[in-house]
């Protein structure tokens, strides 16, 4: 599974306080989601792209993630220009395509990619370990942080379990096809995976009890808020205010 590969780096963004990065990812995502006009959305995408460049991430991996996200947007881009009422721009296979539809599809595309870029720059540049700690420092309910942290910790182990179950099945001649036999086998594999997870959970809990676990998530890594983090936080807030003001001024330029 492609996981924390983008978190290994030495850029300024990688070494920024994860608490600042989490807050900025939240503020900028909400800001971008609120943008209504294409000019400000373009600006947001450009800003997101600059952030990703600034983080000096491996190009292939980053591009691969953006391609995967855009794959899901394909349906929107293919349907919305036809289904939005408005002024007809041209006809495609005798179906009218409207300017408003094109604008809406473009707007969804810009916003989705801008938010993805912000998330890559601010969230993917931290390890889950430091994000969980940052969430705890930001007073997110402790149980939720623990759930997040433990789930992440065991996903790889259960993925290996699934690999073993799959190997066992294929050694016994299992070849997936469209048949009830396949579905039943996959159901049993799912059941086996859940039981393995449950039993490991019991053992993990007992091992933790032996070491004095009482539900408290002790914070071992403490972050230091440097002047540089303050500058980045301020720049992020100024950028989101600028985007909102720009959106307010330019909203009605296109097509309306």
């Amino acid at each position: 599974m492609t996981c924390e590969r983008l978190a290994a780096g030495t850029s300024t963004l990688h070494t920024t306080d994860p608490r600042v990065k989490l807050c900025l990812a939240f503020i900028l995502s909400v800001t971008i989601a609120l943008l209504e006009g294409c000019p400000a959305q373009f600006a947001a995408l450009a800003a997101g792209f600059l952030l990703v460049c600034w983080a000096r991430l491996p190009v292939r991996e980053t591009a691969g993630r953006l391609v995967a996200i855009n794959f899901f947007l394909f349906l929107v881009a293919a349907v919305v220009p036809f289904t939005t009422p408005g002024v007809t721009a041209f006809s495609f296979l005798s179906l009218p395509v409207t300017w408003q539809g094109i604008e809406l599809a473009l707007s969804v595309w810009l916003k989705c990619n801008a938010i993805a870029a912000v998330n890559i720059a601010f969230l993917a540049t931290s390890t889950i370990f430091s994000l969980a700690h940052a969430l705890a420092h930001l007073k997110v309910p402790s149980k939720l942080v623990q759930l997040f942290f433990f789930s992440w910790r065991y996903i790889h182990i259960l993925e290996e379990e699934l690999g073993r179950i799959r190997t066992a099945a294929s050694l016994r001649g299992f070849r997936p096809s469209t048949s009830l036999h396949t579905y039943r086998t996959l159901a049993w594999m799912t059941g086996a995976l859940l039981i393995k997870g449950f039993e490991r959970g019991e053992r993990v809990y007992m091992a933790m009890r032996c070491r004095g676990f009482n539900g408290t998530f002790w914070l071992l890594s403490h972050f230091h808020f440097h002047a540089r983090d303050g500058v980045i936080a301020a720049a992020g807030i100024v950028a989101s205010l600028a985007l909102l003001i720009m959106d307010n001024r330019t909203r009605c330029i296109l097509f309306n």
């Binding site: 989601a33 998330n119 789930s151 996903i155 699934l162 799912t190 539900g215």
Partner: protein, 201 residues
Amino acid sequence: MHISEGILSAPLLAAGWAATAGGLAAGLKRMNAEKIPETALLTAAFFVASLIHVPIGPSNAHLALNGLAGILLGWSAFPAIFTALMLQAVLFQFGGITTLGVNTFNMAMPAVAAGYIAAPFLRSGRKSIAVACSGITGAMSLLASAFLVALTLALAGESFSSIAGMIFIAHLPVAAIEGVVTGGAVSFILKTKPDLLKRRA
């Protein structure tokens, strides 16, 4: 099955977060310290199980298993599904922070309902009834999620209403398979480790 960033309006996103906050509060309240590692391991297991691709004719679908999650976890399905979606957002940037609320609610609310509906049949002691009812609730909860996703998209505006319809129809065959897999998994668990089904009650 999730709604991408950039589609929904602010009121819908806020409503999704409000509803999910309520569900999370209910789920976390019922999850004491003892249950945290177990719930986390089951969350991880569901996350990994959703990577299993199921062949349907020439195409394939991946399992969501939200009904089974509700049957095993009850209200804890809310924090479990929230965690899984949050990991997706952080690890692959599928979905993001603003849609996390509405996407969690669309998957988790039918899961919790499935848990409540299946519980009396699982306690009935009749294996065939337990398996059949889990299968039906598994299929219904996926359909309910597809319906909620379609409803959310329809509320987002006229432009998305035909996509909403397509999404719902595309999930009809997936729901049938979810039902078979949920029933099969419950049957396997009843045979192998019935404790897993009792932990919720």
